[in-house]
């Protein structure tokens, strides 16, 4: 379950589980997270929790609500977010997310689950997003995984193809898309795919398979190395890598 950790100048003041639909934050004592400080408005902000998501909303507070250095009106909390209210800080921690990212039980995250329509209906008429998500067990999604997965080649060298023979000799093609096709449709076509760990050439259509460095590569994907020479539909071209 997710929680908020309240600190002042790095000193731990308390911990609040996000186990109900609505959690209130403010200076008045009736708030769930009560912060007795003049920089904090009486009713400063609320956190609405729906399923595995928590939404932070500023209630038009005098000094505003800041998340990771930026003022927000409404924000969907992500693990590690830091909410600032005056000098106080609230850190959003979603442990299930952390566990799964650290290679936790693969059986336990991102499982498709049913949320009962009855729970939906209870929330449907009101604009308030207080959906009683009756989860049968705590399951959390792993969006961080996507970010942690080999990210699409930010600093990786970019592949190019330069035509060596035939009428378009000298022409150069930058392989900056996930897929680039080469060849003559109806005669022989191959595709070069850009993957996190490199470039691959694969046969698409035609009776002949692509030839790399004089060897036919068959119908399977073939990893390309810098300065490989590809032959397709009678045209030779060189594959090479360069920065940017």
């Amino acid at each position: 379950m997710a929680k908020l950790i309240l600190t002042l100048d790095g000193a731990f003041l308390g911990e609040h589980d996000l186990d109900k639909d609505l959690l209130t934050i403010g200076r008045r004592p009736n708030n769930d997270v009560h912060i007795d400080n003049l920089a904090v408005s009486g009713s400063h902000a609320v956190v609405r929790t729906i399923g595995n998501d928590s939404f932070l909303e500023d209630l038009d507070s005098t000094n505003g609500t800041i998340v990771n250095g930026k003022p927000i009106k409404k924000h969907i909390l992500q693990h590690g977010d830091v909410i600032e209210l005056g000098k106080y800080q609230l850190k959003y921690v979603n442990e299930a997310t952390v566990n799964a990212a650290a290679g936790g039980s693969p059986a336990d995250f991102e499982k498709t689950m049913i949320i009962r329509p009855s729970a939906m209906k209870a929330a449907a008429p009101a604009p308030s997003p207080s959906i009683a998500a009756k989860l049968q067990s705590t399951t959390t999604v792993q969006e961080t995984l996507k970010a942690a997965a080999p990210s699409p080649h930010e600093d990786a060298p970019v592949g190019h193809v330069q035509v060596l023979s035939g009428p378009s000799a000298g022409r150069e093609l930058v392989l900056n898309k996930a897929l680039t096709t080469l060849g003559k449709p109806g005669v022989q076509v191959a595709v070069i795919t850009r993957r996190p760990h490199g470039y691959f050439v694969t046969h698409v259509e035609g009776t002949r398979h692509p030839v790399v460095n004089g060897q036919s590569v068959g119908a399977q994907a073939h990893e390309l190395n810098d300065h490989d020479v590809i032959e397709l539909a009678g045209v030779k071209m060189e594959f090479f890598l360069s920065k940017g």
Binding site: T97, P106, F109, T112, I114, E143, K146, A178, L179, V191
Partner: protein, 274 residues
């Protein structure tokens, strides 16, 4: 109607990189014009059971009926094609079958599955779905999502509670609001679309659509349209390259030429005046 040689179908299901079991199930009967994909859920192996029952029940109960059904006849009450009603009947049967097993087998309690199924007939396609498995269509340069997810996230989007940007970072992607086999009754969402030769239809589980952007899917289908088998492998590979956190299943279907129903003279006459 018999679509032998008219409908090209490729299907592929992959366990992904993070799961031990493949809880997706896919099936196709190109001659009957039927494609089915299900993404199961439930405890230890029960998800596999649910999706498998869904797919097998659907195929076995409607294959013969579809082949025998004179194509293109509309039901007078609902205005839907008879084929749509056959699909709906079969989905209700599958729902009962899964529900009964989950009630009688403790290890299967609470299991369920999403479903997306399509029946091609008379230059049209009947599309039925439950949950967050999707169907898309690529026609020329236009890539369209034909199904609307039955998911908490989509409900939130539709009601304006969250924006598309927020949806991308939501932790609620895995919560479906409708599934097969959870309750004694289920409502199948059914639509019919006209079909053009050369259209490419994609059915997929959320293991693909959560991890690969629509634009990338479109690029893959249009770039590799000459080789659907390779396109299917490429889509699965892209999902795995992006983390492969769930099972990934895809079915690609492409009608190669028109398949209008054969009409008698009266049918042709009324056909002109439709």
């Amino acid at each position: 109607m018999n679509l032998t040689g008219i409908l090209e179908v490729v299907r592929l299901s992959d366990v992904g990189l993070r799961r031990e079991h493949n809880e997706d199930a896919v099936a196709s009967e190109p001659e009957a014009g039927l494609v089915v994909l299900a993404d199961g859920m439930g405890g230890y192996k029960a998800g596999e059971v649910a999706s498998e029952i869904a797919v097998l029940t659907l195929v076995s109960s409607i294959r013969e009926r579809l082949l025998e059904q004179p194509a293109g006849k509309a039901d007078e009450d609902s205005g839907l094609l008879r084929e749509s009603l056959i699909l709906r009947d079969a989905v209700h049967q599958a729902n009962s079958a899964i529900y009964n097993v989950s009630q009688s087998q403790p290890q299967c309690a609470g299991m369920g599955t999403t479903l997306v199924a399509a029946v091609f007939t008379d230059d049209r396609v009947c599309v039925g779905h439950i949950g967050d498995s999707r169907m898309y269509r690529l026609r020329g340069d236009t890539f369209t999502q034909l199904t609307e997810d039955h998911s908490l996230l989509n409900e939130q989007l539709k009601s304006g509670l969250i924006t598309a940007e927020q949806a991308k970072v939501s932790n609620n992607k895995n919560l479906v609001t409708r599934a097969l086999g959870i309750d004694p009754e289920v409502e199948l969402e059914l639509h019919e679309y006209e079909v053009q030769p050369g259209d490419i239809y994609l059915l997929c589980s959320d293991g693909l659509s959560d991890l690969v952007e629509d634009e990338e899917i479109q690029l893959t289908l249009s770039t590799l349209s000459a080789n659907l088998e390779l396109a299917a492998h490429q889509l699965v590979q892209m999902a795995n390259d992006n983390g492969g956190k769930d099972n990934i299943s895809v079915i690609l279907a492409r009608p190669l030429r028109p398949f209008p129903a054969k009409r008698d003279w009266l049918g042709r006459l009324t056909g002109w005046f439709r």
